[in-house]
């Protein structure tokens, strides 16, 4: 249902912590810069580490080191070492009984939780809006780690055609940066968006109309319909 929208490859890299300048916790990570490339058994170790994460995810919180080693067929010493490294970096968390493990909050950066489906009241607002306006009307959450489409127009879905992604990305980027409304044109497509704000004036979502340039209704008409809908959606989504 929901699709991540990365504004650019750099944004994606920054999100995953591959580029410096993201979270500022790096006094002791600085030493890691400038290591040489993967060699020898390192690729296998990386694979094993990811398998450990998968195993904890599959077994649920509370799985012990012994159980992981049995499930993956790794030696116990190797397993404990891998679990140790993953715990140091907080990808895994040791539970209060000291035996069991759970996935740590850092894993969240690798897998952003899917944005929840908007509540019925919000969907009814969208239905009314779609009934009165020609063009694909989509609701995009802007407050998560990634911008995600949480309610796509069922009659005019976001087709993978050149231009569509570009205008949607552009509009959402602008809205997330604080603009109250935004317009983008690319190829034959146009997108117009307004922000849905919470009580503090922070953007929580964007209402985006996407249509072929020649089918797009006038800006005045869109504004007159989108803005009240966005005001109505604010308390339902924030």
């Amino acid at each position: 249902m929901s699709r991540p929208i990365f504004a650019s490859p750099e944004a994606a890299a920054q999100l995953l912590g591959l580029v410096a300048g993201g979270a500022g916790d790096s006094a002791d990570d600085a030493a890691a810069v400038g290591e040489d490339e993967l060699r020898g058994r390192q690729p296998r170790a990386v694979r094993h580490a990811l398998q450990v994460l998968e195993c904890v995810a599959a077994s649920g919180a509370g799985v012990t080191g012994q159980e992981i080693s049995a499930a993956l067929g790794l030696s116990r010493a190797t397993t404990y070492r891998l679990v140790q490294v993953l715990t140091e970096d907080e990808y895994l968390v040791r539970l209060p009984d000291l035996r069991g493990f759970a996935l740590g909050h850092r894993v969240a950066a690798l897998f952003p939780p899917p944005a929840p489906r908007p509540p019925l009241a919000a969907r009814l607002v969208l239905d009314r809006l779609r009934a009165g306006l020609r063009g694909g009307i989509h609701l995009v959450r802007l407050d998560g780690v990634v911008h995600t489409v949480v309610d796509e127009d069922p009659d005019f879905p976001l087709i993978p055609e050149p231009g569509v992604r570009e205008v949607v990305d552009g509009v959402c980027g602008e809205l997330a940066a604080g603009a109250p409304s935004a317009v983008r044109v690319a190829d034959r497509w146009t997108a117009i968006g307004v922000t849905v704000l919470d009580e503090l004036g922070q953007a929580v979502a964007g209402l985006v109309v996407v249509a072929l340039q020649d089918r797009m209704p006038g800006v005045a008409e869109i504004d007159a319909r989108l803005t009240p809908a966005a005001v109505e959606l604010g308390p339902l989504l924030a």
Binding site: A27, D28, A61, G65, T87, D89, D97, G104, H105
Partner: protein
């Protein structure tokens, strides 16, 4: 709090919203502050200048060998301690670890031993600060060079200053001591290198090798005394809850402090031995080796600078050791093992004020009283060091012995750490027994008897309290625990809004109410 140790996963522990040590600033300290705690507790520059001399007085010709053995043992103890620090973020250090491995009674013994270790090393550091400050004063005011009074005044002043710093909870003091240590260690390292380059290689090797006629008992006693030069390297473990990345920062701080200070001691002792051999003197008869050597080799300007550095280093050591001392007492007070009033914090500064008020006068006045009773300060320091060594080594033996039990309990035992722990515990226990036996034949026997009496007294009262209050056993060994915001699905969000309802990964959703026990 703990799940019964059954072979299968009996039940999953409930993850709370607050850690048991919640008052502390959780996950806040950067790596430098964690290293600063360990480094200032060890006070390597003060130890590097005094310890070779102290070891030489007991180990005779095998000073360097004893220091070498102590280095290996200290690194082995660090490896054993790190079996815990990599898995538990604790505030009570070794005491918490032993409770987790061997149970509450062994934990009580460890706690008492650590109190002796930290308490007497604080006395030693205060007395050492007085000793070196007196040498420094004597340089500029020759009239004050003799007599015990100036040193005692310095001890009292330093004790008061330590009390004030700890009461105000000056966090920055850790960084100041780090700078002081780095500067005086660098100065010392330069002198050591100059001395070693100046000497012929053959002389250095001859000085490092044991002289004929020294037996294993000499080495064992020397090793036990030399180990006191390392003590404190584990004190970074008290910052487990507060370190930003505890499972990475604390083990590194512990290992590197032990290794680096050991190498410094080895270098310092060999250079002092070479230097004294070159002068045709015996190190065991020296008063202040670094000064005398600097003067004899024509760099007398380095003497006063070193004195300032060493005095500052002793002061740092007193601060760090008493920090650890009151912290352990405070934890015991909170857990009700010690009288509950020790757990009372200062209303404004949030520091363990009551524990300070009880301990600081004792640790300051004991060395003063001993000297007033007619002992010489330097001899008093040696006796105090024996008590401290006994306390520390007892705690180290127990923490090493706790490793196999702990690893088995959490189901992560492998042969390598178990073998290392058993070997280290055995060697340490032997060295402790030999030290106590040999020391009981010298003038330092007062230290042996004081150690045994205080240990017996503390352990007895602790065990009596444990029996009288049966609920106590379950409360000991509190440590920082994972809380819901550490887990995936609890949403630690960049915009700082409160986390959503906690969800368990894998489970369809226990509600927030049941997870927040």
């Amino acid at each position: 709090m703990t799940t019964p140790t059954s072979p299968v996963r009996a039940r999953r522990p409930v993850v709370g919203t607050r850690s048991p040590v919640h008052g502390l600033a959780r996950r806040s300290l950067p790596f430098t502050d964690v290293v600063a705690q360990s480094l200032s507790a060890v006070a390597p520059s003060a130890a590097a200048t005094t310890m070779p001399l102290l070891v030489a007085t007991v180990a005779g010709g095998s000073t360097a060998l004893a220091l070498g053995v102590a280095l290996v043992l200290a690194v082995a103890v660090a490896a054993c301690v790190n079996q815990f620090t990599r898995r538990i973020a604790a505030t009570g250090s070794l005491y918490t670890f032993v409770v987790r491995g061997l149970g509450a009674r062994a934990g009580v013994v460890t706690g008492v031993a650590m109190l002796l270790g930290y308490g007497f090393i604080t006395m030693f550091a205060l007395a050492g600060g007085g000793w070196y400050a007196h040498i420094l004063i004597g340089r500029f005011v020759p009239a004050l060079a003799s007599g015990a009074a100036p040193a005692l005044v310095v001890v009292l002043l330093m004790g008061a200053a330590v009390w004030w710093v700890l009461l105000r909870g000056i966090r920055r003091s850790a960084r100041v001591t780090l700078v002081v240590e780095v500067v005086s260690v660098a100065l010392l390292a330069v002198l050591v290198l100059a001395m070693l380059l100046h000497a012929e290689p053959a002389a250095a090797v001859r000085a490092a090798l044991p002289e004929p006629g020294t037996g294993p008992a000499d080495v064992a006693v020397g090793t036990a005394i030399a180990l006191t030069a390392f003590v404190g390297f584990e004190s970074a473990a008290t910052l487990g809850a507060e370190a930003r990345h505890p499972f990475r920062a604390v083990p590194r701080a512990v290992t590197w402090t032990a290794l680096a200070s050991g190498l410094l001691y080895l270098g310092a002792s060999v250079s002092q031995l070479v230097g004294y051999a070159g002068l045709g003197l015996d190190l065991a008869d020296a008063r202040s080796p670094a000064n005398e050597l600097a003067a004899a080799y024509g760099v007398s300007w380095a003497g006063p600078v070193l004195d300032v550095g060493i005095t500052a280093s002793f002061f740092a050591c007193a601060i760090a050791s008493s920090t650890a001392l009151v912290r352990v007492l405070f934890t015991m007070g909170r857990e009700e093992l010690a009288p509950r009033s020790f757990g009372v914090a200062h209303g404004v500064h949030g520091t363990p004020a009551r524990a300070l008020a009880v301990t600081m006068p004792v640790v300051t006045l004991v060395p003063v009283a001993v000297v007033l009773l007619g002992a010489d300060l330097w001899s008093a320091m040696q006796v105090i060091l024996v008590v401290s060594a006994g306390g520390y080594i007892t705690a180290y033996v127990l923490v090493c012995a706790a490793v196999p039990a702990f690893l088995r309990r959490i189901g992560e035992a492998t042969w390598r750490p178990v073998l290392l722990a058993v070997g280290t515990a055995t060697l340490l226990a032997c060295s402790l027994v030999v030290m106590l036996v040999v020391q009981s034949g010298t003038f330092r026997q007062a230290g042996v008897w004081a150690f045994l009496a205080l240990l017996a007294l503390g352990v007895t009262s602790g065990l009596v309290r444990l029996r009288r209050l049966p609920h106590l056993s379950a409360r000991l060994g509190v440590h920082d625990e994972a809380v819901v915001t550490d887990l995936l699905g609890a949403g630690r969000r960049a915009d700082g809004t409160s986390p959503r309802t906690p969800r368990h990964p894998g489970g369809p959703g226990s509600s927030g109410g049941s997870a927040a026990a």
